[in-house]
């Protein structure tokens, strides 16, 4: 990960050597509209209408490896192998870097050499999603229609309606799908279903909606089986790997609040009789890690159902551990008040962040989250409130 700059340039060379462009086009960059030919290339097709790109794309993107001509216009052809640059991008968004702006242009893309009978797969314009799909399409000839979900994955975008009926209908018209394929079938990711009314789509566009598998890795098998998904392909999973990849973003999102807490501790230290120290520092960071990382990883094995309770249990173990590290069962060197304060605060912090993980899980219901929050939020607030009073008392009063 450290030498990513080197990797980028390496990819470019390798790519240039390998790629055969079906038809050379002048490049269209970023959001600039395609108006005229900035030709540094010998053959130029800008004059003819059908050779215009249907939607905007940037031929300089490493994952675009050529272009193919259709009656509706030019369509970029994309790679089915991810480069190190793609993987580095994935790695970064997993750690929260550029996560809200990791998107590609909506439109139509080609995989292999599709024709007017090739299947059309619909997906979101979050590049992580797009990459997850295209890397499974090696050897296939398909069209990919990318909806404008504002750079959000299929599931979340479907939940908020951006991966929705309206955008789908709009995109069908924009990419002139009826000129590109002669059939009337769209394959949508199953997790896009909460945003799509399939009957409405058919009624208004004539295209029939088939829901594909939950995971892109099953798409090849799904197509081979004549667009039939097995029961297993239809079921969403949330195994340990699925959970682990989500934890860095959870933890990194706490940095702002952690800085605030440390800032306040610092200010209090200017006046305190018993200043905060390194124990407070690792106790707090530890509680954040328990809530954001450890609880999500151990999720299935913690024998209660409410997420806040899962986090509270592990947080309590952490609080006890901190006290043991500092002298329990004899009185810890920082005194009774702080010992009790840790037992009140640390489990509550872990519980709060564990509860937040319901938003990332793939099996918690809205009603369930509300039910647990009605109990957990006041309990957490009261517990932390009492704990903070004890900590402040300890800071300013000699006992």
């Amino acid at each position: 990960m450290d030498n990513n700059n080197g990797c980028n340039s390496g990819n470019k060379l390798q790519k240039n050597a390998k790629v055969k462009i079906v038809r050379i086009k002048p490049k269209v960059t970023g959001n600039s509209t395609f108006t005229e030919c900035e030709s540094t290339i010998s053959s130029c097709y800008c004059g003819s209408k059908t050779n215009k790109p249907i939607t905007k794309y940037d031929i300089d993107q490493k994952w675009i490896i050529g272009e193919i001509s259709t009656p509706a216009g030019m369509v970029p052809k994309i790679a089915t192998k991810l480069t190190l640059a793609d993987m580095w991008g994935t790695c970064k968004v997993r750690f929260g870097v550029n996560r809200m702006n990791y998107k590609i242009n909506p439109g139509i893309y080609a995989v292999g050499t599709p024709n007017n009978n090739s299947p059309v797969l619909v997906t979101a314009n979050y590049k992580l999603t797009f990459d997850a799909l295209r890397k499974e399409l090696g050897g296939l000839n398909v069209w990919i229609m990318v909806l404008d979900t504002k750079g959000v994955n299929v599931w979340c975008a479907a939940g908020k309606g951006t991966f929705g009926t309206k955008e789908l209908l709009n995109r069908i018209l924009k990419v002139k799908l009826f000129q590109i394929v002669s059939h009337k079938t769209l394959i949508l990711p199953q997790l896009g279903a909460p945003g799509i009314n399939a009957y409405d789509v058919t009624k208004k566009s004539g295209f029939k909606v088939v829901y594909g598998p939950v995971r892109a890795e099953d798409i090849n098998e799904f197509l081979k089986a004549g667009m039939r998904a097995t029961e297993e392909m239809r079921e969403i999973r949330f195994n340990i790997v699925d959970r682990v990849v989500l934890t860095p973003v959870e933890f990194i999102s706490t940095f702002k609040i952690a800085m605030l807490v440390f800032g306040i501790m610092f200010l209090i230290n200017l006046f305190a009789v018993n200043p905060f120290g390194v124990v407070d520092f690792y106790a707090f960071i530890g509680a954040l890690l328990v809530g954001c990382v450890l609880t999500p990883i151990l999720l299935t094995w913690i024998p209660v159902r409410a997420f806040a309770a899962k986090g509270w249990i592990l947080g309590l173990i952490w609080a006890v551990t901190v006290n043991i590290l500092n002298g329990w069962p004899a009185m810890p060197e920082y005194g009774l008040l702080k010992t009790v304060a840790y037992l009140l605060i640390l489990p509550s912090i872990a519980a709060y962040y564990a509860m937040n993980f319901t938003g990332s899980s793939t099996y918690t219901s809205f009603s369930g989250v509300i039910k647990e929050m009605k109990i957990a939020v006041p309990a957490i607030a009261i517990s932390i409130g009492f704990g903070v009073v004890l900590l402040l008392t300890n800071s300013f009063i000699h006992i």
């Binding site: 929260g96 937040n356 809205f366 369930g368």
Partner: protein, 99 residues
Amino acid sequence: MKNKYLKNVCTLKFYSDKCVGCGRCIEVCPHKVFNLNEGKVELINKDGCMECGACAKNCAFNAIEVKSGVGCAYAVIKGWLLGTEPTCDCSGDNSNGCC
């Protein structure tokens, strides 16, 4: 091991009299909440429902109702504080994205 969440809270309602057995709900459900039995759909795992709303949205016969929403604690707290429906910030410029 199977992930299981709170029991008896789900708002899913299935009206079997309106159901024509097309099986669309079975196709879209990621948690096997429905089952097709001799041309009729039956609700077999209500507690497995995560209220995503895919079945209700795709049922052309209004045989399914469910109150779906953003199951994200941060969004819910914000909704409580501001007195609005919970909304997720995932697509905004706010870095507090949840899903």
